[in-house]
């Protein structure tokens, strides 16, 4: 067995502590982003998810500058961004993209300055790459309690407001006619999304974090009909992509160019993308079969009399 697996799992895969942490954190983050992402897609807030990812760059750069872990920066940056979006009017469907775009622009400008200050002060470009593209193999074990806490908060929020959130995501008018405080539900959800994006950023980087939020969820919505199944499917797809991505990245040490590993983010995002393409196949096949059946019945019509 191990002989068979050895070409896939390069030597030391199961012994390395960095790999253990990467697998555990990666799975937790994928579950959280998958669950949150289903509502992001349903609510048409993918752009807000993208903005949180990008704005994590600002927070992350600030964190490096003051010398704390980047996760603190991601969280703080995203929560401030969520507040700003809410204040500007992210909940009105019409001004929503505008509000998001304005906050995003301002935040990224600040990120440019902070990264400039850090890199000129420290003559190191590693921070920029870590922030933008993540470094799941470099997560220190001291960060794990915070990651678990944040993940638990996001899941608790989302599952607690599950029913009101589901109905107000489907139709806000129906929800408010039922007495659901739609705005409060929206704010709580935005907070959950902001924290989920921060968690995604620490694994696959700020600019790729949306892929982990939107990708598995969008695939899940194409293959499931039930809301709870969609949450589980999105989480499952995320975990699978994350773990396979980690395995491939670890293995890529033996790939050209020798002696370096390819970024985990590349593998994860690519796998998510492929999954999305594949998830469209059942529907396409069903449609083709339906077409064939209807054209067949057209041909058959003259001969069938009953």
């Amino acid at each position: 067995m191990s002989h068979f697996l050895s070409p896939v799992f390069a030597s030391g895969f199961f012994e390395s502590e960095a790999v253990h942490i990467a697998l555990a954190v990666g799975a937790l983050v994928a579950v959280v982003t998958g669950v949150v992402g289903v509502f992001t897609v349903m609510r048409g807030q993918s752009f807000a998810g993208e903005a949180f990812g990008d704005l994590g760059t600002t927070g992350g750069a600030g964190a490096y500058l003051v010398g704390v872990g980047p996760l603190w920066g991601f969280v703080l940056g995203n929560v401030i961004a969520a507040g700003a979006m809410e204040a500007i009017g992210v909940q009105r469907a019409r001004g929503r993209d505008l509000a998001t775009g304005i906050v995003l622009g301002a935040g990224l400008g600040l990120a440019a300055l902070l990264l400039h200050l850090y890199t000129t002060g420290h003559s190191a470009t590693g921070a920029t790459v870590t922030i933008l593209f993540g470094s799941v193999f470099a997560i220190s074990s001291t960060t794990i309690p915070l990651i678990v806490l944040l993940g638990a908060i996001v899941l608790a929020i989302t599952l607690t407001i599950y029913r009101p959130l589901l109905l107000s995501s489907v139709n806000a008018e129906m929800a408010s006619a039922r007495g659901i405080p739609v705005r409060l539900v929206g704010v709580l959800y935005l907070l959950a999304l902001a924290l989920a994006a921060a968690l995604a950023a620490i694994t696959i980087g700020t600019i790729l974090s949306t892929a982990l939020i939107v990708g598995p969820a969008a695939s899940a919505l194409r293959i499931t009909r039930r809301p709870l199944t969609a949450l589980l499917t999105a989480a499952g797809i995320g975990v699978a992509a994350m773990w396979l991505g980690i395995v491939l990245a670890y293995d890529s040490y033996h790939w050209p160019p020798h002696g370096t590993i390819w970024p985990v983010s590349f593998f994860v995002v690519t796998l998510v993308f492929i999954t999305y393409l594949l998830s469209g196949l059942p529907e396409a096949r069903r449609r083709r079969r339906a077409d064939r059946r209807s054209s067949a019945s057209l041909v058959a019509q003259p001969t069938t009399t009953s």
Partner: protein, 286 residues
């Protein structure tokens, strides 16, 4: 106010009493009054922009009235808001689900029971039976396991009605439910609603810009034009003198093959119509 005013004495389920709504200087509703008794089928008729949706929002408590009030009958509840939400089932206007929404028809109906509750729903036999009963009541069992976004407009409408009915409301509010439907589906939905009103003693208030599909089933009509309303039975309201006064200019009411055509007179300058002209230089208002 310690005790919320009630519309109880005459067994009314809803009393709209002199409701005015003014938004940024414009009068949307002007002293609108009518009442609805349990099990009564009421059509709220008016062209686009007459104020139908605003009136619904006032009744639902989503829009404050500048003057007047809305009173509800039915059992008392310590919190007036909660009583209103328990009393009313609501089907929103011009709404079609996205095809990728992960909700089967039965999931949406189930949300009608407990969407306001926290947490994830726990499946139970009684919950499933109730959903099944409602799907049966609107004749939607056939597509109970289909995604709502893949259903036709008429099928979605029926699922939305089941969603609104499952909370056992006393008053069903439907905002232009026939607007997106072909004639056949519209007649089916109207017949379904009439049956529900009769069998379950649920009052139905339905808004429409076209009066004819509702004529056979309406107990009462509330005719809305430019924010003002007249109400009564169809015979009392759909008359040239009554409607002419409401519109503020001469209006003819024509009966053609069992249909009613409400037509502005020749030369009348009206912005209320928006329907195709039947006769030269005149306009069909409804």
């Amino acid at each position: 106010m310690n005790e919320a005013p009630r519309a109880a004495e005459s067994q009314e389920i809803l009393r709209v009493d002199g409701v005015c709504v003014r938004l940024s200087g414009r009068t949307i509703l002007d002293r609108v009054s009518f009442q609805i008794a349990p099990g009564e089928f009421t059509g709220l008729i008016g062209s686009n922009g007459a104020g139908k949706t605003t009136l619904f929002r006032v009744i639902l408590g989503l829009q404050a009235a500048s003057a007047g009030r809305v009173l509800f009958g039915g059992p008392a509840h310590p919190r007036e808001h909660a009583r209103r939400h328990r009393l009313i089932g609501y089907v929103p206007q011009k709404f079609l689900f996205d095809p990728d929404v992960p909700l089967r028809a039965r999931d949406l109906v189930g949300l009608g029971i407990d969407a306001h509750r926290l947490g994830v729903p726990r499946p139970s036999r009684s919950r499933r039976a109730l959903v099944e009963e409602m799907l049966h009541a609107v004749d939607a069992e056939r597509f109970a396991d289909t995604r709502v976004g893949k259903l036709s407009g008429g099928e979605q409408q029926r699922v939305l009605i089941a969603h609104a009915l499952i909370g056992r409301p006393r008053l069903l509010l439907l905002d232009e439910p026939l607007a997106n439907l072909d004639l056949g589906s519209a007649h089916e939905v109207v017949a379904l609603l009439a049956r529900i009103a009769r069998e379950q003693k649920i009052a139905v208030l339905i808004s429409a810009h076209e009066i004819n599909p509702l004529l056979p089933v309406m107990d009462r009509i509330v005719y809305l034009a430019a924010g003002r309303a007249v109400s009564g039975t169809t015979e009392e309201v759909v008359r040239p003198d009554v409607l002419s006064e409401l519109y503020g200019h001469h209006v003819d009411v024509l009966h053609v093959h069992g249909r009613v055509l409400i037509v502005a007179g020749a030369g009348e300058d009206t912005d209320l119509a928006g329907h195709e002209g039947v006769f030269p230089r005149s306009e069909v208002l409804s």
